[in-house]
């Protein structure tokens, strides 16, 4: 009984996602690209970096990168807190 509910829920969820994915824009061609074109044209001129991906990661969206570095630090702190040596008896 629970299995049938889960299967129906998974089918509905999958159907919604595929239906939405299909109608974002036609497969293979981008729909609107104003921001992407800005990055491609200006990354070399303004920032002198040949790797556009790195210039987006560290310059245009650098704040998200400090967030991701903080997530890594948080995961390390959590693992260290869980596996710490306890108080010596």
């Amino acid at each position: 009984m629970r299995k049938t509910i889960f299967i129906i829920a998974a089918l509905v969820f999958g159907g919604l996602m595929l239906g939405a994915l299909d109608s974002i824009h036609p497969f293979g061609e981008p729909g609107n690209v104003p921001m992407d074109e800005y990055f491609l044209h200006h990354a070399l001129e303004d920032r002198s970096s040949e790797n556009v991906v790195t210039s987006i990661v560290f310059d245009y969206r650098g704040f998200d990168t400090i967030g991701e570095a903080a997530v890594l630090f948080t995961a390390v702190c959590s693992v260290l807190a869980l596996f710490r040596e306890g108080a010596k008896k």
């Binding site: 974002i24 921001m35 967030g67 991701e68 630090f73 948080t74 959590s78 108080a87």
Partner: protein, 521 residues
């Protein structure tokens, strides 16, 4: 260099610096680390206060990360913003203020509460990172940045909930919480991906100006509402809350309340400022109202029968979240209709928003008093406690203040916000008010039970060796008590200066968009 203008970035950069530098300070000994913790928490509170003052005087503050000037949102030749923009309006500043007060109170409390445990430098780093995640969720204006801070807050809270790892229930609670929370984060990411694929911009205000409903936007809205409601503890998705809040150390529970409110804030931003009038707000509003009613009633009926103190308070947290969903849902119902807005919609929004602040204050105080009870007696079971009012009268006094606030007894601040919610929901349908009133009575009943069992009554003989409550724990609880009492004695000032600008900012989608796009809406 005018540092007043850099306040939004400082609000996030200072606790990040604090979290990263804590292992360095830990090498200097325990006192140095505790001093660094308190210094960082207090400066976060002062920055949040200064930011709120600036927003209430100058309007919406916009800060662009990494641009030549901090207010240049649209670079030359572009009609859409390219960089990450922090946008602080009155609602964001209001919530950041609430969050920084609870973070400071929890910091003072955990100085001596966590004293006998090792690994405390990791605890302080994780606590400061949880604060960063919460504040970042509240002040950002960019969807993917919201997701990054949601991840920081989630991963920090997984570690903090499982901090007492010698207790297997804590690890199980953290694992359950981790699975559900990761599911929610993935749903949020997929929804952001849909919106980005359609409009090619990630900025909240820019999407708000460009949006028109189709199947992609409807699916994204469904994913965002269900994922953010899971993170804040609405009705069908609240089952992780009693375990996670109950097994975490008390100061962490106090902060986790406000972290859930940050997800609630995200839900309101999505419904009011991104989608706004483009969606059919009657359907979404009724969904929020029904979630609110069911959370309120079911959670409080499960809370009355609990005998473990922190689980009881966690169920009450769910039921109070139901009040906020009810209030803001009624406000959303009246959004497009300016006559309905003037009649009951705006009052409902004021009630819901005021309840967020009140709830953060008194629920945090309740968790801290539960932690004090555990520190004093070494047990969490109500059946084993009794007669503690003689051992620590200050704790009993603060518990009475918080319990009166949550039950909505006049003249406390809880009564003020609940009255606004009752008045406005009565205009929609009387059944909503009836359920809210019954919930309030059951809340009062369960807190009378807790007070009578734990504090009054005869002393049991195993209670002869309770520990004395240290001063820093009383300072931590005292901060929240002062906040509750200030809101109680000055309600009209609080309503007109704190709550009304926040509620107006929530309704004002055009102003939110115009602050970044420059009036081209």
């Amino acid at each position: 260099m005018n540092w007043h203008a850099h306040l939004p970035a400082l609000l996030l950069a200072v606790p990040l610096l604090g979290a990263f530098a804590t292992p360095v300070f830990n090498m200097g000994g325990k006192t140095l680390r505790n001093a660094w913790f308190i210094v960082i928490s207090s400066s976060v509170f002062l920055i949040a206060l200064a930011l709120w003052h600036q927003v209430s005087v100058n309007g919406i503050q916009v800060y662009v990360m990494g641009a030549e000037q901090f207010a240049l949102s649209l670079p030359s030749g572009m009609k859409l913003p390219v960089r990450i923009i922090l946008e602080v309006d009155a609602l964001s500043a209001f919530m950041a203020l609430a969050g920084s007060i609870t973070s400071l109170a929890g910091a003072w409390f955990s100085l001596s509460f966590m004293d006998r445990f090792t690994g405390l430098s990791r605890f302080v780093s994780l606590y400061l990172l949880l604060t960063v995640g919460m504040l970042g969720m509240m002040i950002t204006g960019d969807l993917f940045n919201f997701f990054v801070f949601l991840e920081i807050a989630s991963v920090a809270s997984y570690g903090l909930v499982a901090f007492w790892r010698d207790r297997p229930q804590a690890i199980e609670a953290s694992f359950k919480y981790m699975l559900l929370s990761q599911l929610a984060a993935m749903l949020v990411l997929v929804a952001i991906g849909f919106l980005y694929g359609r409009y090619n911009v990630l900025n909240m205000a820019a999407i708000g100006s460009l949006i028109h409903m189709g199947i992609v936007e409807k699916v994204a809205l469904a994913f965002l509402i269900s994922a953010l409601a899971l993170k804040c503890g609405a009705f069908p998705m609240y089952l992780w809350i009693p375990d996670a809040y109950g097994e975490a150390p008390a100061s962490v529970s106090c902060l986790l309340v406000t972290v859930s409110q940050a997800s609630l804030y995200g839900l309101f931003r999505v419904c009011f400022s991104i989608y706004g009038l483009a969606m059919s707000n009657k359907v979404v509003a009724w969904i929020l109202i029904i979630f609110g009613l069911l959370s309120m009633f079911i959670a409080v009926s499960m809370a009355v029968i609990q005998h473990e103190v922190k689980r009881l308070m966690a169920y009450h947290a769910v039921s109070q979240t139901g009040y906020m969903l009810l209030g803001v849902g009624v406000g959303l119902l009246a959004l497009g209709n300016s006559q309905a807005l003037a009649e009951y919609g705006f009052t409902a929004l004021k009630g819901g928003v005021f309840h967020i602040f009140n709830h953060a204050m008194y629920k945090g105080l309740l968790f801290l008093t539960a932690g004090t009870l555990y520190y004093m007696t070494g047990t969490r079971d109500l059946n084993k406690m009794g007669g503690l009012v003689r051992k620590s009268p200050w704790t009993a006094f603060m518990f009475v203040v918080a319990a009166a606030a949550i039950a909505g007894l006049p003249p406390m601040n809880g009564f003020a916000s609940k009255l606004l919610i009752y008045q406005s929901s009565f205009a929609v349908h009387p059944l909503l008010t009836v359920v809210a009133l019954v919930t309030s009575i059951l809340t009062l009943a369960s807190f009378v039970k807790v007070f009578q069992t734990a504090f009054l009554g005869p002393e049991q003989d195993r209670m002869a060796d309770v520990k004395k409550v240290p001063a820093t724990m009383l300072v931590g609880m005292g901060i929240l008590t002062v906040a509750v009492l200030l809101l109680t004695f000055f309600p009209t000032w609080a309503l007109s200066h704190l709550v009304e600008p926040a509620a107006k900012a929530l309704v004002d989608q055009a102003g939110y968009i115009a602050a970044i796009m420059g009036g081209a809406f």
